[in-house]
């Protein structure tokens, strides 16, 4: 089980490094068009070949990683930023009207598949990377609220929380000082999973034209552009897809590995 954790870590780090490196260096300029070199198969000059404008695919993938990672990361941030406080509040006031309201509100968001939220937002505000972030982020809120509430509820029954209550700490302080640190690992695991889902969602949204707009490089849009050329030059469709699969695969392995590590029950079983 350990090997898959390290494989996941390596793949996720590779995507992160590619994205970071693209800020200062890419093998070729991603905006440089060269129609003479269009749809060239992989070669020494262009490791992964060129697209229909003669742009270097490897360079575009590096820059695209930046978009994917940024969108997914901010969306996870939105989910945690709103979801975790809501979940903690619901747990601290368990059974109250606040708890009920938070959970029913979450049910409501769950009733909208994330893609439908995205469509609604872009239909109204127009397609952009920011709106894609919003659409994915909103869907992350109930996920984190649920995880935080579930984790916090089981902690509220424990003696050390009782002790903190007896010592005179209020629910807000207990939530921040005692509950939050104890559910942090749960949240990190969920964060990894939502991060990988965010990358998939961003790819899907930009594939249908609802995500990052040109000229911002994006894996999903590279695939959309490749679709009509897939017979002429399969490599333009294959490499962006592989980049998505490997990144998401790596993040999932990482998430699973981290979860097994923190849950001794699972560790003993596998």
């Amino acid at each position: 089980m350990k090997a898959s954790l390290y494989l996941g870590l390596a793949l996720a780090l590779a995507a992160l490094l590619a994205a970071a490196a693209s800020l200062i260096w890419t093998p070729h300029d991603v905006t440089a068009l060269s129609i003479a070199d269009k749809l060239k198969p992989p070669s020494a000059g262009h490791w992964l070949g060129t697209d229909h404008f003669g742009r270097d695919i490897a360079s575009m993938l590096m820059a695209g990683a930046r978009t994917s990672i940024a969108v997914a990361l901010v969306a996870v941030g939105i989910g945690m930023g709103f979801g975790v406080p809501l979940g903690l509040l619901a747990a601290a006031r368990h059974g109250s009207i606040v708890d009920e309201a938070v959970m029913r509100g979450n049910d409501l968001i769950f009733a909208f598949p994330s893609l439908v939220i995205a469509i609604l937002i872009t239909a109204v505000f127009g397609p952009s990377a920011v709106n894609a972030i919003l659409a994915i982020g909103i869907f992350n809120i109930p996920v984190f609220a649920r995880v935080a509430r579930g984790g916090a509820l089981s902690l509220w029954t424990l003696d050390f929380i009782r002790a903190a209550e007896v010592a005179g700490k209020g629910p807000a302080r207990i939530s921040a000082e005692h509950i939050l640190p104890n559910i942090a690992s749960l949240l990190i695991v969920q964060g990894t999973i939502q991060f990988s889902l965010g990358i998939l969602a961003e790819a899907g949204l930009s594939y249908v034209g609802l995500g990052a707009q040109p000229p911002t490089p994006s894996w999903g849009r590279m695939l959309a552009e490749a679709q009509t050329m897939v017979t002429l030059a399969p490599h333009v469709a294959i490499f962006p897809g592989l980049a998505i699969v490997l990144t998401v695969f790596g993040l999932n392995l990482l998430g699973d590995g981290l979860r097994d590590r923190q849950d001794p029950r699972l560790r003993a079983r596998t």
């Binding site: 409501l108 598949p113 893609l115 239909a123 109204v124």
Partner: protein
Amino acid sequence: MQRFLLRRLVSLALSLLAASLAIFLVIEVVPGDPASYMLGLNASPETVAALRDQLGLNAAPPARYLAWLGGMIRGDFGISYTYKVPVADLVLQRLQVSLPLALYALALTAMLAFPAGLVAAARRGRAADAAVMGATQLGIALPNFWFAMLLVLVFSLHWQVFPAGGFPGWDSGLGAGIAALTLPAVALALPQAAILARVLRSALIETEGQDYIRTARAKGLTRGQTMLRHALRNAMIPVMTILGMQFSFLLAGAIIIENVFYLPGLGRLIFQAITQRDLIVVESVVMILVFAVILVTFLVDLAYAAIDPRLRRRA
């Protein structure tokens, strides 16, 4: 049981009401006026005024919301601005593609996931389990639209066994219709089947330590027999939950896949409506998708009660 049903029905109605209000409010915040948004920049003030009148935009928002809601209850979703036909007719026509596609994909999901999950659980820790777990981990990471492109590359362009896109209509025969939906359904189903197989595997493993399983084993049943006769039924609760959620993912996922295969379903309709700024269609199709999701959740809740009598009493 009646009380249980009544409670579930009330919560179904409340969710639908809340969802419709949310959709109405989002459309309501359209920057500027919906009528001028739909007509674009070059519209004359008279046309805008006429459309405002036709859409009933001159009424106060609460009255408009109630009118929209009342219309939907009667099956009247308004008239599409671009197609000039009732939205209900458009949607019904498109559902003839989207619904069979989602059901086809759901059937494939279950057909792939059940054997894989059962084998993995039965052979836990062995090579077969590792193979299933590895394959499903990759399956989850697969973007369905990319997988769809690869399927077209192999099965339509290379081997030419399935059409690469388009839909001939059910009039041209069941076989042709099914053939047109096969690659899209496979593309939708595979990533979902990977998720379901993993859920089934862990739900089956979860039952392992239970007393009734040990009793069944002590009676002399093999591991496989116990799993099929006793563990599977108990593992169905989490599996049903996921399967219910997956139906809505399949319906929503079809939005993207329909665009890959140029299928005239709800997904194509909603994208065309967005490009043409036909807010009436967008709002109705979103509402119908959300309605489907909420209804499926409701049915899954009822199915729980059918599978597990304990849940009936508790509610």
